[in-house]
Symmetry: D2
Subunit: 296 residues, 4 copies
């Protein structure tokens, strides 16, 4: 079994380290919180006084830290990992940090002759305890292959995100979408309540439409993703319905900032001549607004 350095024993890191121990790995652990360290020592880990000490002789170094500045400090700072790290070792950053910072870390490590891959995790601390995290693996194919046995001690599903830095990218996209969607869902639910409509009825209806199932697997695949913008439901009509919803919400005093912002996106799509295209053409509209070439 490989020797692993584990740095960052917080709400997520501690149970992840525990699961590595359970699988029989030798662990050298570091955290600024001595109690967190002691809890792992009690389970069989070796305490390290510094990241450098933890990394000595390690084949894998796992970092699970609150932000990218801390990852940087742990790697490159005084008594940091790089002072003792073997050129053969693989650093696995499992923290959720800024993707462009991840890119910089990968590059700087490479510049010094070291290897770092990004494997942020999905799901919750309960899953960390159960060893059923979702592992989003960025890295070269050989890095993913090499890390997989270690990673699978902490999770039960691993997705190869497609290359260095792609693990943290897919984590970002997923979190963006789910966090903003949460706010949008709240607007819909509060409007529902203000209208005196049963939320159960609304759920029943939405469970069979893109409102509940999302667009990625329903309205998009056969339309915009295939380049077919002939209207199943026109931008103009979608814009009109948004206008009615906002009008009702404003009469009933339900603030809907996301709804208001979205109407202006449709408004701009109409200004761009897309009024009679399929509503999924909004994807092309946003691409154009981002300065990307659109063929449709």
């Amino acid at each position: 079994m490989p020797i692993i350095a584990f740095i960052g024993l917080g709400q997520m890191g501690a149970p992840m380290a525990s699961n590595l121990l359970k699988q029989g790995h030798q662990l050298s652990v570091f955290d600024i919180n001595p109690q967190a360290v002691q809890a792992l020592v009690d389970k069989g880990a070796r305490a390290a006084a510094t990241p450098a000490e933890a990394a000595t002789d390690a084949e894998f170094v796992i970092t699970m830290l609150p932000n990218g500045d801390l990852v940087r400090a742990v790697l490159f700072g005084e008594r940091g990992v790089c002072e003792t790290l073997s050129r053969e070792a693989l650093v696995i950053d499992m923290s959720t940090i800024h993707p462009l910072q991840t890119d910089a870390l990968i590059q700087e490590m490479a510049d010094r002759g070291f290897s770092l891959m990004d494997v942020p995790v999905g799901r919750t601390s309960d899953h960390a305890v159960a060893g059923t995290l979702l592992l989003l693996a960025g890295g070269l194919p050989e890095q993913v292959a090499r890390a997989t046995p270690v990673l699978m001690a902490m999770g039960n599903e691993l997705i190869d995100a497609g290359g260095p830095g792609m693990g943290i990218r897919v984590k970002l996209i997923n979190n963006y979408m789910s966090i903003a969607l949460n706010a949008l869902s709240a607007e819909a639910a509060v409007l529902c309540e203000a209208l005196g409509l049963s939320f159960d009825v609304a759920l029943q209806v939405m469970s069979g439409t893109p409102a509940g199932k999302g667009h990625f697997t329903t309205s998009w695949p056969n339309k915009v993703l295939k380049g077919d913008l002939s209207p199943a439901f026109m931008i103009d009509l979608a814009h009109k319905d948004l206008g009615i919803a906002l009008d009702v919400a404003n009469q009933l005093h339900v603030p809907m900032p996301l709804g208001a912002a979205s109407r202006e996106v449709y408004n701009q799509a109409r200004a761009a001549g897309r009024g009679r295209q399929d509503w999924t053409a909004i994807l092309e509209q946003v691409r154009a607004a981002a300065g990307m070439n659109t063929t449709h």
Copy 2:
């Protein structure tokens, strides 16, 4: 079989009327477009020169019109439905109009001794042709019961929305949610593209999370909907992740107006002292912003 007046033979109305004919109903049809009328006459309908003529002897009057002003004109205008309508007849408005206008129509019809229920439809014109529309029935239980056999000639699923005006309300909520979600999904997809991440990988990850499955049936039921705001994922962290996403998007020139609006909702939740609550507490935050009482 009951005699039915059908008013409004557009892209949706025409195939709906056709399906009623196929089921053996007697139809009297009206539209301002004579070609649309002739097409139905060719299938066995009787042409009416005015809404009033169409409504003569009808047991059901179905309206399928572009907006509420037209519904109002067809009912109450000169040579309108109410000039000949029987007190025993049931008017079924299947148009998508403003819900508060629906309420007014129901009330005004009742004031004159008539009955109107709202049954807007879900799905597309393809489903209208196939007779597989989703029927969202507002109305009193006896109205829903009475209309069901007629309605099921046009669709294959009927949801009782819970009372007068609730059909149009659930349609509004569903459309609001799906139309705004479409714009949000586009932001996520374009950020994905700008990050050089495979959209297939993103879909694979999101298919297992609220990002792809929505919150209504995943993160909400055991948390905010039960009044449990202990954090599985904290508002503060969600806010932080949104900030990273917006920062990346602004570096990569991807406009994200919905994301920007949503960060301010989380910002306000934190200002209201909810930073350490579960992210699903956003529902309570939006309720409070709408002036509703919150107990959490």
Copy 3:
């Protein structure tokens, strides 16, 4: 002195009618509120039982009503103005209504052989009492000339807005700008407070910059309005500063939805290749987003 019908004696209309009486005009007044009518009768007006009765023999008919539907009803409804109106009379709608509704009213009146002009007012009810309103005159030059003596009994400044429907348009633009600016100003002031900065100091600084003086007469005239987009202050830097402000605001829990929306406008300007243009190029950016041709 001409005979004037005055319809709508609310918070604004009542003192406006009073000032006409003071100038010696004969007034025939109508309102649904009998007390409002009586107050004017006590000052010398004649009460009319209907708009039609008020308009009999009138050379001018002034309407000052809460919305366009009421203006329409007063003109075209039963016992409405048009039943008795002389083809020689001039209707002056001073209400604040939807501009496209104003256009329709002008057209429909013309179709019937009547004349209507739009003269909404600026300033407050205090100014209505003092006879110092701002008069925003839409209408043909001869209509403006003819109405001016009557209008100047109610105000002390008249601006010829440039043609039929332009009075209500300039009112709309002015109100849009001032109302939205009010919300933006609140964001800046609250951020100021959250930063512990003296508001007086902030005012002192802003009084000398576009922040306090606006852009129309400071940064725009010599740049974008002349087609000169060479940077005095670059879009890229403006975007950066907005990012700092939003970051600070989010750290201090100050919600800034307008600021967040504006950053995405600059973001989109950068995506369109305008990063190194002058910040006044935002005007060209918004024009492009509205589907207008831009030469810069």
Copy 4:
């Protein structure tokens, strides 16, 4: 004349340093760009190879750098200012950076026994050349007094912002307000164009109202700033007018994301029971949303 170290000779820094030379100051200059250094040497400055060398013997050290990380590096990095800085010297950071970073710099300098004040500048590079910058002085009274003679060599107006860190704060507020206002102004101007209204007429009207003059010195002082929320113009009416403007803009395809966001602020104010308060109560509304206590 005091000896001054000047670090950062960019578009703003170079002419500022020149003006110091013209006033007879001895200057030791540093920049990473050797050409920028040479240009100043040609005018009489002494070139320094490092920030530390520049700071040797200096009574004042002026930093004019693109961001706070660079200021930090110049002060605390290897061969940085602090290696040679006298405890008697005063560091004047004139850069535009993140205010919370300024606070940290002031604190860290104090912890080491050094003094730093923040004096960002207003106006443009043309004013930097002319020596007519606006100087926004943060710092203790004695620091402001001491620095004034030096600062006035670069500008013609100095505002004492009220204490350490307040210079950068007032700069941030001013820039936030003017940059976001620029985007809002563009929405109004484009709507004006879409409505076919003369922009000159709109300017004429707005020049006499808060739309053109701002609210800080017009509508606010006698209302919300005095705690008087009795309505001169009601929130409800402002909300209604915004709704009309957005409706018109959406019909004419003019995207107005700031306007859309502002309507939701008024919407929320109405939900909070402020509908019949004066429109300046929006300030109290935003304060409440930021978690501040409101007494009105």
